[in-house]
């Protein structure tokens, strides 16, 4: 076995957390810069991982297997394929940017903040790399706890309510998932995810075990759907987002939501393919409701951050729609290409949403730090006074509403392209979301905040354009929005190999 690349990426943040723990809390500057510099190592390694992943070989690569608790057949088994590689990279990128941005904005309990943040980073890596259920579950839970504290300690006015709501919601999901994991374990006889993918449907064919397999499928699904979050399990999200500190929101929207969607692609779809296909209509309906309903609810918001939080419900709906379409296609011969396109779109949307909505939350933070309000009506005319901020916000906003030439469009296009061939009615209704999205971004955000006249009396001299560190935070994200928008192949290549391989096995 060669260099344990994944293990190194995975545990570097933990190492960082230990070192941070040992640094005296008064040395805040040291803690900040140590975390930032340290996070460059997993970032660099994730880039290397992307390059070193051999597309022609496909499948799981960089696998590492060690016995962990042999009695229970629990193993430390990690590995990545074309779906997880970009997500590992996304985790690294957003974490580094969050560390960097927080260095300038987090003033209280710096040490604890970075400690939790680094642990969170490890948890997220773990989920994207784990190929063992127990490992997966452990990392899944590890992600939960630091987030609870990040919201509960560094959050806004209603942080306690939000933190507890977040915790309980996701805990319920986790418990459901744990039971389902045990069910799979007792049937397959191992916690290995890949083994379960191969064997479970042979051991427990859906047709012969409708009730228990359905229960297990729904347990997984609810666990993931809460995290996504899908309607009707989404109401923790606006509260958690609104109260979380900026970087917390970025990570929450950028990566934690992806854990749920990733679980659907990595676990629910391959292991329960028959059940998923059977219930795809429910998933599809939830997806379409999430898209349209989420978009409409955005239009009723007057708090910028809450609006963007709800937009996640809508945008993650596209992910679900793509997955549902792929699941539908399993029972339709001749739709393999459309299924692959839909699933490519879903995974690309996961990545894009991380870049775009992550960026939007940074942008909210940037204005909130100065204005101490997120009330849309309080602003106006910022386009003339803060031209750079306006430019970057506009690009990000347009990327979010799916303007061609920017990242968001491709994912939407692919999801709808796949879904239209498989489940046209869902696609047509979902397309309403595209118009409403343009509505809330241009009407609510751009028009209220940036256009019109600048309120000189209230904001004169108080609001300044983006500082260098804020620009540095945003530039990589903007770069990705353009890069994917112009030449999506550099990422879709990876996804396409993985999704076609995944679908071919089902």
């Amino acid at each position: 076995m060669g260099f344990p690349l994944l293990t190194v990426i995975l545990f570097f943040p933990l190492l960082g957390a230990i070192v941070v723990w040992l640094i005296p809390k008064e040395k805040e500057q040291l803690i900040r810069w140590f975390s930032i510099v340290l996070s460059f190592i997993p970032l660099a390694l994730s880039i290397y991982l992307w390059i070193a992943y051999t597309r022609s070989a496909g499948g799981m690569q960089f696998e590492e297997i060690y016995n962990w608790i042999p009695v229970l057949k629990i193993r430390y088994h990690v590995g990545v394929d074309g779906i997880s590689v970009p997500l590992v990279f996304l985790t690294s990128l957003l974490s580094t940017l969050s560390h960097f941005y927080s260095a300038y904005t987090i003033k209280k309990q710096v040490k604890e903040y970075y400690l939790f943040f680094l642990l969170l980073q490890m948890g997220m890596y773990g989920v994207f790399m784990s190929l063992d259920f127990v490992l997966f579950y452990v990392f899944w839970e590890i992600g939960l706890v630091p987030m609870y504290f990040l919201i509960g300690i560094w959050g806004g006015a209603r942080r306690e309510y939000a933190a507890i709501k977040f915790f309980l919601y996701t805990l319920i999901g986790s418990v459901a998932m744990l039971l389902a994991i045990l069910y799979v374990y007792f049937n397959v006889g191992s916690f290995d995810i890949l083994e379960a993918t191969e064997k479970f449907h042979l051991i427990r064919p859906f047709a012969a075990n409708i009730v228990p397999v359905s229960l297990a499928f729904w347990a997984f699904f609810v666990g993931f759907a809460i995290k996504v979050p899908s309607f009707p399990f989404h109401t923790w999200l606006p509260d958690a987002h609104t109260e979380a500190p900026t970087a917390g929101s970025v990570i929450l929207a950028g990566i934690l939501l992806k854990l749920g969607a990733y679980g659907m692609v990595r676990i629910a779809l391959p292991i329960f393919s028959e059940a998923f296909s059977y219930y795809a209509w429910v998933v599809g309906i939830l997806a379409v409701i999430s898209i349209v309903y989420g978009a409409f609810v955005c239009m009723a918001q007057w708090d910028l951050k809450r609006l963007i939080a709800y937009s996640s419900v809508s945008h993650m709906g596209y992910v679900m729609l793509g997955i549902a379409a792929a699941a539908f296609a399993l029972r339709m011969p001749g739709k393999e290409t459309s299924a692959a396109i839909a699933l490519n779109g879903a995974v690309l949307q996961m990545f894009n949403h991380g870049i775009i909505t992550g960026g939007l939350f940074f942008l909210v933070g940037i204005i909130y730090e100065q204005a101490h309000t997120r009330e849309l009506k309080a602003f106006g005319g910022l386009a003339s006074k803060l031209p750079t901020y306006y430019g970057i916000f506009a690009v990000t906003g347009f990327a979010s509403l799916g303007l061609p030439g920017l990242a968001g469009f491709w994912a939407e296009f692919m999801v709808f392209r796949g879904a239209f061939d498989i489940i046209p009615i869902y696609a047509v209704i979902g397309a309403v979301g595209i118009v409403v999205t343009a509505g809330y971004i241009l009407w609510k955000i751009i028009q209220y905040m940036f256009l019109g006249t600048f309120n000189e009396e209230r904001w004169g001299g108080k609001l300044v354009d983006m500082a260098t560190f804020e620009k540095v935070t945003m530039w990589p994200l903007v770069l990705f929005m353009f890069a994917i928008g112009v030449y999506p192949a550099f990422i879709v290549n990876l996804l396409n190999d993985a999704t076609t391989a995944l679908l071919a096995k089902l």
């Binding site: 040992l22 507890i164 709501k165 309980l168 919601y169 009707p232 109401t235 923790w236 309903y293 409409f296 609810v297 955005c298 239009m299 009723a300 918001q301 393999e336 290409t337 459309s338 299924a339 692959a340 396109i341 490519n344 005319g381 386009a383 003339s384 430019g391 347009f398 303007l403 061609p404 030439g405 469009f409 491709w410 709808f416 392209r417 239209f420 061939d421 046209p424 696609a427 047509v428 397309a431 595209i434 118009v435 409403v436 343009a438 509505g439 241009l442 009407w443 028009q447 940036f450 256009l451 019109g452 006249t453 600048f454 030449y487 999506p488 192949a489 879709v492 290549n493 396409n496 076609t500």
Partner: protein
């Protein structure tokens, strides 16, 4: 042909200008406009070189040129993209970069370069229009529908940004739409069309597996699409080609401002006038027409299918509908805006009834004369110090001679003034084609309605044009601004003259062969070699000539013969009565949409949010939370306290007793003595250790002290301060001890 290998450079020049202005050149106004004009200038040179190469390439129409590359993977195949040129693209390459260049040059003067009125966002303006030019040039060069759609949307973005360019502007009348609202309205309205188009595109893509024009328009594919049937709920069974065509047409309805999505274009006039000329008259709005022309084989795949009726009806109806509104408008730009909608209706109607060449011809000529008219009106607006109400103008003929004469050239072209204007030839070809269809198919046919509606619209067009010329340029000035009007700078008048030249002469490229001789109708020969030429119809031509002249004459009769005095109302108000009010208010479509679509969407948003936050979901979640809390406190009160605590207390008491006993019988006699022994030994040793301690251990101790403090802090988390917890810990420890002792 080597020339064609450089096609992809054409949109790249203005894009480079855009990037350079955004990234660095923007503080320098002169550099910014030089970059923009340089970029589009290069596109123009290359575009015209390409155009003439195409013209002189024998049998060019049969061998379109494509340059492609793989774009992104889709399952087991790749999506291919690239640029291509065929005759339709070639003639667009003649029109678009030239009109763009004229308008870019004109903008230098319009945006006040070198004066104290220079716009504070001057550079930004040139960046936006450069990006726009990229979009339009890319659109006409795209070799597949997806790439076309991408540039289509980029233009939509630029349109949005440029309509709202003066986003601070407010009006005293709150009902008057502001630029920022107009931009939003334009974007959302066209996006409704775009989403419908997107669905059509998805349908096409999923049926054909490809979006490349060459592939879609292959005989087999078209045949397959025409034969395949699809059953739609509420509509019935239709050929797939028909459904796709109608859906794609949705995009054209939005972009080309056709009824019922026409409402955004008049309000788009809130943008700077060069923008109105460039985007909302000459190029972007005609992209909708271009789309239909580009997709023409698909629209024609099912003969006499419902798509024919949809396209022809919407086009013809819009042409008439918009021209009636134009009659009652007083804003110089609003008249032109409705006129644009109406003229676009002509083109759409033409394509609907199969008059491909005529539609494309009118698209080109209209772009020139409408750009000219808008720039002329912009010149008037600047000359009159930003006055836009024609009722406050008058008498500008003497004060602005170049503007006047060029405007007249454009206006006559728009009216279809016979023989010497471009509009006459192109409009006549549409009417002739409709007439010919009517002759073949009889009264109950689309061509007949198209002919009828367009003919009425032709008269109205000439009438409102005559009205506009009279009100603006004839008579005496009716306001202070008009009295002090002045001619505009050369940067504005030179483009006017160049455009006027084309507005008059371009029609000669498409004179029917019956007049000019066989094989001499160049336009038809080049663009529509595979279509039969529209036969000349003398009565139709005479009728349209008479209508054009008489319309202009009536316009002059009402408004020019006895010019309006200052403050005198429009004579039409009295003549038409309530009809005029309806026309003036644009048939109340804005109000209708406001009351239904806009209110409906906002209402739905509020409703869903209440459902989410107040009524159902969150209350449910909170109820579950409270239920859990209640259960917990109930358990605490009725189970935890009496039962478990009782047990714990008992165990505690037992434990205490036990510990006392242990203390007395084990601790004191046995352990203490052992400890004392150790203590004494230690004391003896300690003297020896002293010096080690002093020299070596101190460092370690300091470390451990520091370490302990860390650990202590960590433990502090456990130190909750609740007595029960401590008791529990004590008890647990004791039980453990006892257990270990007994099991030993």
């Amino acid at each position: 042909m080597f020339m064609f290998n450089l096609l992809w450079l054409i949109p790249l020049f203005p894009f480079t200008a855009f990037v350079l202005i955004v990234l660095g050149a923007n503080p320098n106004k002169k550099l910014s406009h030089s970059l923009a004009i340089g970029g589009i200038g290069l596109s123009w040179i290359l575009g015209w070189l390409t155009f003439f190469t195409a013209v002189f390439t024998p049998h060019f129409g049969e061998h379109p040129v494509r340059l492609t590359f793989d774009w992104f993977p889709t399952g087991n195949t790749w999506f291919e993209t690239g640029v291509m040129i065929d005759p339709l693209t070639a003639i667009m390459l003649f029109m678009v970069p030239f009109v763009c260049l004229m308008i870019f040059i004109y903008s230098v003067g319009y945006m006040g370069y070198g004066t104290e009125h220079v716009d504070p966002r001057y550079s930004r303006f040139f960046a936006y229009i450069s990006l726009f030019a990229t979009g339009m040039l890319g659109l006409i060069l795209a070799d597949n529908l997806l790439l076309l759609f991408i540039f289509w949307e980029i233009m939509g973005l630029c349109s949005y940004l440029l309509i709202g360019f003066w986003f601070e502007k407010k009006y005293p009348d709150p009902r008057q739409i502001t630029p920022k609202q107009a931009g939003l309205k334009a974007f959302i309205t066209t996006r409704i069309g775009d989403v419908i188009m997107l669905l059509g595109m998805l349908f096409l893509y999923s049926r054909v597996g490809n979006l490349t024009f060459e592939h879609i328009f292959s005989h087999e594919t078209l045949h397959m699409l025409a034969e395949a049937q699809v059953t739609l709920p509420l509509v019935g069974t239709l050929p797939v080609a028909t459904v796709i065509a109608i859906l794609i047409f949705g995009g054209a309805v939005g972009k080309s401002a056709q009824f019922p999505l026409h409402v955004w274009l008049p309000d788009a006039m809130e943008g700077p006038t060069p923008v109105s000329a460039l985007i909302h008259a000459a190029t972007m709005v005609s992209a909708g027409v271009y789309l239909v022309a580009r997709m023409f084989p698909l629209f024609a795949a099912v003969e006499h299918g419902p798509q024919v009726g949809v396209v022809a009806f919407i086009g013809a109806f819009t042409a008439l509908f918009a021209s009636t509104i134009a009659v009652a408008q007083n804003d110089i730009k609003k008249v032109l805006a409705y006129s644009t909608i109406s003229q676009l209706g002509y083109m759409i109607a033409a394509l609907g009834i199969g008059a491909y060449v005529a539609g494309a011809f009118h698209l080109i000529t209209h772009s020139f004369f409408k750009a000219l008219l808008f720039l002329g009106s912009g010149s008037v607006i600047i000359g009159c110090h930003h006055e836009q109400d024609m009722m406050h103008m008058g008498g500008l003929r003497q004060k602005m001679p170049i503007t006047f004469w060029t405007f007249v050239a454009g206006a006559f072209a728009l009216s279809g003034f016979p023989l010497i204007t471009a509009g006459f030839w192109s409009k006549d070809e549409i009417l002739a084609h409709a007439w010919e269809g009517f002759m073949h198919e009889g009264v109950v046919s689309w061509p007949f309605y198209v002919w009828l509606l367009l003919t009425i619209a032709a008269f109205l067009t000439a009438f409102y044009t005559g009205r506009q010329i009279s009100l603006t340029f004839l008579g005496q000035p009716r306001s202070h601004h008009a009295e002090h009007a002045h001619e505009t700078p050369h940067s504005m008048t030179v483009p006017l003259m160049l455009l006027a030249f084309f507005a008059l002469t371009l029609g000669f490229a498409g004179i029917p062969e019956e007049i000019i001789g066989h094989g001499r109708n160049w336009f038809h020969h080049f663009v529509g070699h595979e279509f039969a030429a529209t036969p000349l119809s003398v009565p139709v031509m005479l009728l349209s000539a008479v209508l054009a002249v008489s319309g202009l004459f009536f316009g002059w009769l009402v408004y020019g013969r006895k010019p309006l005095a200052k403050g005198q109302p429009d004579p039409l108000v009295k003549a038409l009565g309530p009809v005029h009010t309806v026309l003036k208010n644009k048939y109340y479509f804005d109000e209708l949409y406001q009351a239904t679509v806009v209110r409906g969407a906002i209402g739905l948003a509020e409703l869903f949010f209440k459902f989410d936050n107040r009524w159902v979901i969150d209350p449910l979640v909170n109820a579950v939370g409270r239920g859990g809390a209640a259960l917990a406190s109930g358990l605490y009160r009725f189970f935890d306290l009496p039962v478990i605590d009782g047990a714990v207390n008992l165990a505690g008491k037992v434990g205490v007793a036990l510990s006392v006993a242990l203390f007395h019988f084990v601790d004191m006699p046995i352990i203490d003595s052992a400890v004392n022994l150790v203590g004494r030994t230690g004391a003896a040793l300690s003297a020896a250790w002293d010096w080690i301690d002093l020299h070596i251990v101190d460092g370690l101790v300091n470390f451990s002290g520091w370490f302990t403090e860390r650990v202590g802090r960590a433990f502090r988390l456990i130190q909750t301060g609740r007595v029960q917890n401590y008791a529990l810990v004590v008890v647990a420890a004791l039980i453990l001890l006892v257990a270990v002792y007994l099991l030993r």
